[in-house]
């Protein structure tokens, strides 16, 4: 039972354009959401998060949007850069168990020059 789903295994975007990565969740108890980025042969690293009291959080080129009614969140990267090529994992948790993260399957983003 996959509580957090990333339905696109891969995404290819041209350098300078916007990358949009999507994530859906099924557990309505989730109220804290995160994105992690992973390069080959490295562990995932934290990128950006959002709590359910917000619908948008921005950090430089990265913006996360949350649509609670649709149980959907997305990560926007603009402009996309070659160094953004990586696997991106969406994760969710409840504030009560805020560190017990449930991850999606990941989306491999490739930025083409």
């Amino acid at each position: 039972d996959q509580q957090v789903k990333q339905n696109s295994p891969s995404l290819s975007v041209q350098e300078g354009r916007i990358s949009i990565l999507n994530c859906d969740y099924t557990n309505s108890m989730f109220d804290y959401f995160l994105w992690y980025k992973k390069y080959p042969a490295e562990g995932p690293t934290f990128l950006i998060s959002i709590s359910s009291i917000k619908d948008k959080n921005e950090d430089g080129r990265f913006t996360v949007f949350l649509n609670k009614s649709a149980k959907h969140l997305s990560l926007h990267i603009v402009p996309s850069q070659p160094g953004d090529s990586a696997v991106y994992f969406c994760a969710a948790a409840t504030f009560q168990g805020a560190q017990k993260l449930v991850f999606g399957q990941g989306t491999r983003l490739t930025i083409n020059p």
Partner: protein
């Protein structure tokens, strides 16, 4: 430069053999997680500890997997006997509690033939 250290980085073994993976969390972090990365499931939580006590190991096959924290500087994940379906990358992560960002190690890639 504080980081989570995992050993071994790569392990190839034959079915039926015992495998032990080790993790040194970041000094001062009191919460340690074991995750497994597979293509189909993404990052699955196997078990986690707080202040060395196991809090949740529901994601772990109990008949062959065991996780322990002999002391605050060492977490172990043991598989006995190993099976080909255990082939995956195993990540350890640590964090402070109250809630803080998870820091991941570089992972242990396990191949069971």
């Amino acid at each position: 430069d504080a980081r989570v250290t995992q050993t071994p980085r790569d392990k190839v073994t034959e079915m039926g053999q015992e495998v032990t993976m080790r993790c040194q969390p970041i000094l001062g972090h009191n919460t340690v997680f074991w995750y497994r990365q597979t293509m189909m499931q993404g990052l699955e939580l196997l078990a986690y500890f707080r202040n060395r006590a196991p809090l949740d190991d529901s994601g772990m096959p109990k008949d062959r997997f065991s996780a322990e924290m002999p002391d605050a500087t060492l977490a172990t994940l043991k598989i006995q006997p190993s099976e080909p379906r255990d082939s995956a990358v195993y990540f350890c992560a640590s964090a402070r509690h109250p809630p803080g960002e998870l820091f991941f190690g570089e992972g242990s890639r396990l191949t069971v033939l």
